[in-house]
Structure formats: C-alpha cells, structure tokens
C-alpha cells in the first residue's frame, strides 16, 4: 500500500491507492465490492456491520467508506450522516450502495445531498469511479 496520508490532493488521487472500507451485511455483495476495488489497486478492508466502523476508519486512516443502505443494525444513510458530523473524519469520502427500488433511490439522492449512491446492479460499471470521485471531493 502506498498511501502517505489520508488527506490526498486531487492530483495525487488520479491514479493512487486509496484505503477503502466496505460495510455490507450481504457477504456476496461485500465480496464483489472488495474484489472490484482491489482490482482497481486500492487497499480494501471490510466489515459485515457498522459496529466498530468509526474506530476502524480513524485507526486505519480510511479515505473512502462504501456503505450498504439496508443493514439490520443501522441503515447506511444514517451512518453516513453520523460520519459526516464527526470532525475527525472531515476528509472521509462516502459512497452508498443499494438495491432499493428506483423511486426510493430518488428520495435517497435528494436526502443525501452530494453523497454518491450506486445501485448494486451497477457496481461493476459505476462503483470504482464513484469511489475515486468521493475521495477527490473530500480531499479538494
């Protein structure tokens, strides 16, 4: 892994390795996302639930967290809001992934402001770019 700091500038981010944390209770989706981002050259860790996420993000200086929306212990969008309010994590990028219905995704988009949301059926085509963009937005 070749990340010197969790605060990376946009130029550095263009082809750099990011530290990414994936949180999804679905082991299939989690494995797909981890594999995809590792293929992109990122350093990827994962958790099956949000428990312990904040500590992991701080300790491991995670650049971007990829969160499933519908998890039994805590919804990903709620966790995203909590992370956004944490002053220690102001450089953390967040991407939500969901298999929600189209109308629910539209409502989520409106509620989550600039946070990227990727449909699980579009993970292979859209997630890598969304992760880079999330890191770039928070670093800029």
């Amino acid at each position: 892994m070749n990340v010197r700091s969790s605060k990376l500038g946009p130029t550095e981010l263009a082809g750099s390795t990011l530290r990414v944390l994936v949180i999804d209770d679905d082991d299939v989706a989690r494995a797909v996302i981890v594999d995809l981002l590792q293929q992109e050259g990122h350093s990827v860790s994962s958790l099956p639930s949000p428990i312990g996420a904040t500590k992991h993000i701080v300790d491991q200086r995670v650049n971007v967290v990829v969160l499933d929306v519908m998890m039994p212990s805590m919804r990903g969008d709620k966790l995203a809001n909590l992370l956004a309010r944490n002053p220690k994590l102001k450089h953390l990028g967040v991407v939500l992934v969901t298999s929600a219905r189209e109308q629910d995704v539209s409502a989520l988009l409106n509620a989550m402001g600039s946070i990227a949301i990727v449909a699980k059926s579009d993970i292979q085509t859209s997630l890598a770019a969304a992760v880079r963009r999330a890191a770039s937005l928070r670093a800029g």
Partner: protein, 163 residues
Amino acid sequence: MDDYLTKPIDPEQLSAVLCRQLGAAARPLTLAPARSQLRTRSQPPPEALPPLALLQSGLRRPPQAVEAFSRRTPQDLAELHAVARQARRDEVRRIAHKLKGSAGSLGALQLARLCEGLEDAADNASGEALGELVITLEQAFQRTLAALQQEQPGPSAAREGSP
C-alpha cells in the same frame, strides 16, 4: 466537475442535481409522465433479461462471491417458500430484498428483477400468488447457476451447484 449523473438519465435525478447546483434559482421539474414512459422503455420484463449480464473486459465475478451466492441462495429460497405461503409480508420483503442485492451485485439481472417483483407483490398478493412467484425465482436461480458454472467451471462452482 461539481456533480454528475449516470446514464440512463433519470429526469427526477437531473432535476435534483440542477436544484443542488443552482440553489433557489432552480425549481424542481415536474416530469412524472416522462418518468413513467422512461421506466417502461428502460425496464424490459424479467424474461427478456439474460440470467447473467456480460462483464466489461478486465472485470470478473469473484469466485468467493459466486460460491457464497450458490451456497446461500437455496437456503434463502426455502425460507422464502415458507414465509410466502403464510403471507408473512415483511419477511418476504426482507428476504427478497437481500437476494435482490446479492443477485444484482453479481450481475444476475433476471433474478434481481424477479426479486423486485416479489418485493412489490408482497404488499398485496395472496400467499398462493407469492408462493408461485417464489417458484419463478427458483427457476431463474437455476438458470443463473447454470450460467455461472459455464462461466467459472472450477471444481468448487460445480460442487456447489449440485443438488
């Protein structure tokens, strides 16, 4: 770049982005008829979808995800059978939603779409109708499994696919 949208463009998402970028100067667009037309065009029926979406060059379906999907889905379907026949709607929705996420992330589009149909039907359909939809899901899963085995003919995929 201040924002972006992925294709196919959804008029309501476009409206939301414009409102975000332009602030109070922009009013939300009212595009309900156009949206419904768009959905009709962009969402073919499940049977028109392939069991597995083709992957772009350089991408792959990770074997550990395929193995977990092959192992776990029969259990999910058995559970769905039980709760569907009893019209336990919340349980039907929960399991169908989870299976939709697994299938969608692997590119199993037909199964994912059928799961979405079951989620929708869970609101009103009878237990018998829900049970029939689960049978349709099982058939789609078998097609998906066959396509996955064709794509990854390794020993673990073949073993997991055995009845």
